[in-house]
């Protein structure tokens, strides 16, 4: 199996997000960057399938120079090699232009199975996986929590989370699967893994290498444009309900919810 795991590097979930004074991005200093958690489930699943059925796992990542740290972590977990789309021209892309770059990079790789995270936890778009499968002309199943590859390696049986339950779907390979929490528990990189990762290949790819022009990718190729970024209004502390016991506080709360908040 030739498995591809797409990856993005994002701020850790515990990170405080501060909007830059120009309102067009966030302050990146002091932020700890990690592999997008959903992409990590994808990498882990790719590794498990490889360990069972043989093959290779290739990480494909669009991102600036700092994203190398995330790629190295993926390689230390056990991925074989990586492709890093690190041309500044890829920056500032939206779903469409990012998927376009990924599709161009992946097209010639002959992947049987392509994992993406169900969404990146920075822009929360949850769209690149679907757009990528469309541009590659292959099927997709999104929000996947279980993957079984058939014996002939021609199709996969996957579970997909839906409202109030799940769908069990059969999908022919190659396809794109977007990984949801619950798919697996990602391993930590072992020390030997980290040592080995240092020697693994990370191929740097520029726009021209993909046969695309600068106008098709990144901010130039985007179909949406961020006009302004703002911080959410801060929530002020409200009413602390005082009382000696629940016998005193609970009735006050019930009353406030009905009469003041009018939500009951």
């Amino acid at each position: 199996m030739n498995i591809i795991a797409c990856m993005k590097q994002v701020p850790d979930t515990e990170a405080q997000i501060r909007v830059r004074p120009d309102g067009l991005g966030i302050v990146e200093s002091d932020i700890k960057f990690v592999i997008n958690p959903y992409d990590e489930y994808g990498v882990e699943e790719a590794l498990r399938i490889k360990e069972k059925l043989g093959g290779t796992v290739t990480i494909v990542c669009v991102g600036p120079a700092r994203a190398v740290d995330a790629i190295r972590t993926g390689l230390a977990m056990g991925a074989d090699k990586a492709v890093h789309l690190d041309d500044p021209a890829f920056e500032g892309g939206d779903t469409f232009s990012t998927a376009k770059a990924l599709a161009a990079a992946i097209k010639g790789m002959g992947g049987d199975l392509i994992f993406c995270g169900k969404q990146a936890i920075d822009d929360d778009a949850a769209t690149v996986g679907s757009a990528l499968s469309e541009l590659l002309g292959i099927p997709q199943v999104s929000i996947v929590t279980k993957v079984e590859i058939s014996e002939d390696k021609k199709k996969a049986k996957v579970s997909r989370q839906i409202v109030g339950g799940e769908e069990i779907i059969e999908v022919p390979l190659p396809c794109v699967l977007t990984a949801q929490k619950g798919l697996n528990e990602p391993r930590y990189a072992s020390l030997p893994g980290i040592m080995k990762a240092k020697k693994k290949e990370i191929k740097s790819v520029k726009v021209a290498d993909l046969g695309l022009n600068q106008a098709e990718v990144g901010a130039a190729g985007a179909k949406t444009k961020m006009l302004k970024m703002t911080s959410p209004p801060t929530r002020k502390a409200g009413t602390m309900i005082k009382g000696e016991s629940a016998e005193e506080t609970a009735p006050q709360l019930a009353k406030l919810l009905r009469e003041e908040a009018k939500v009951l």
Binding site: Q16, F96, D124, I162, I168, P232, A237, A246, A254, R258
Partner: protein, 331 residues
């Protein structure tokens, strides 16, 4: 030139429409008036014509009912083909839908096929001073917001977060013109096959669509104790959620998780029980209209960010509150 605002009206097993549909139609009606364009709904399915009427009540002038037996249940490729065919024929300027499980799956595929812009999970949709379509959407699970504009490619597409826009009063005297369209999807277009649909027992409403959510965190201490939250939920017709700590401990299924790596919700009332209010949890529920926190730790962050707080043992407060709410409901 592209003209008309379209709303993808999502049905639940062909029996009713998701309420996000009505929320979006109501808001889109105002935009259509401002632009002087038509507002249309699109329903894709099999034998779904009966659902069209209500779209009219919320302001749709036309409802395209796209039917074929192959479209009875949602599949990405079947619905994408049916929708793209209709869009190509009529060239709407804007296409909206709910940021639901289906909307999130379908819209990116359609946008990529049409080569158009898509903004997802929007909390605001509007026309700017120049009548250009702009949206507001959360980033970093709500730790920041972005105002987003579109290139000239049409239709400009957006999915809207359920429960955020306020539906207008339905007006049953408003009638929409129903246009039946036969879809031409072939079984070869749909490469995935749904083998089985497993319904989870007890799941009533998806968290993202619930108006009241009661969540439990580490302070709940064990899976069996969620019972007291479920009892309260029963009384006030709420849905029970959980923090990451409770899910990671295996007390609740992952689908119940509220937070940055779970569901992002925006109910009218969010009751957090035994939840400290970590930044990643707040990211998932910070836009709730009212937040109640019950936590015995006076240092818990959530107590300084909620509308109503009780600093006390949840095992004492919750059952008593349930009792009080029962009384209120009986009045």
């Amino acid at each position: 030139m592209a003209k008309g605002i379209w709303v993808f009206a999502e049905h639940i097993d062909g029996t009713s429409l998701r309420k996000a549909t009505f929320e979006i139609l109501s808001e889109a009606r105002k935009m259509a008036d401002k632009l002087g364009e038509e507002l249309c709904a699109v329903i894709i399915g099999h034998q779904v014509e009966a659902l069209a009427e209500r779209c009219g009540h919320y302001g749709a002038q036309k409802v395209y009912v796209v039917e074929q037996e192959l479209l009875k249940s949602y599949t990405t490729e079947g619905y994408a083909k049916a929708l793209v065919d209709l869009i190509t024929q009529h060239q709407p300027s804007i296409l909206l839908g709910g940021a639901t499980v289906t909307g999130k799956d379908l819209f990116p595929r359609v946008a990529a096929r049409l080569g158009t812009g898509l903004a997802v999970d929007c909390t605001e949709i509007k026309l700017d001073g120049n009548n250009q379509f702009v949206v507001k959407r959360p980033l970093y699970a709500g730790k920041a917001y972005a105002e987003v504009g579109f290139s000239d490619a049409t239709p400009k597409m957006a999915t809207v977060r359920p429960n955020v826009l306020i539906p207008s009063q339905p007006d049953s005297s408003r009638k929409a013109e129903v246009i039946k369209v036969a879809a031409h999807v072939s079984s070869a277009d749909i490469r995935t096959k749904v083998l089985e649909v497993v319904k989870m027992a007890g799941a009533k409403l998806d968290l993202t669509e619930s108006e009241i959510i009661i969540s439990g965190g580490r302070g709940i201490k064990g899976p069996e104790n969620f019972k007291i939250l479920e009892e309260m939920a029963e009384v006030i017709n709420a849905t029970v959620g959980a923090s990451r700590a409770a899910v990671d401990a295996g007390w609740r299924p992952q689908s119940d998780q509220v937070g940055q790596t779970g569901k992002v919700v925006s109910p009218n009332l969010y009751i957090a029980c035994g939840i400290s209010g970590a930044i990643q949890h707040f990211a998932g529920m910070g836009t709730s209209k009212y937040i109640v926190a019950i936590n015995k730790d006076p240092e818990a962050v959530i107590l300084s960010k909620c509308d109503y707080g009780i600093c006390d043992d949840l095992f004492k407060v919750v059952p008593k509150l349930t009792e009080e709410l029962k009384k209120l409901k009986a009045e």
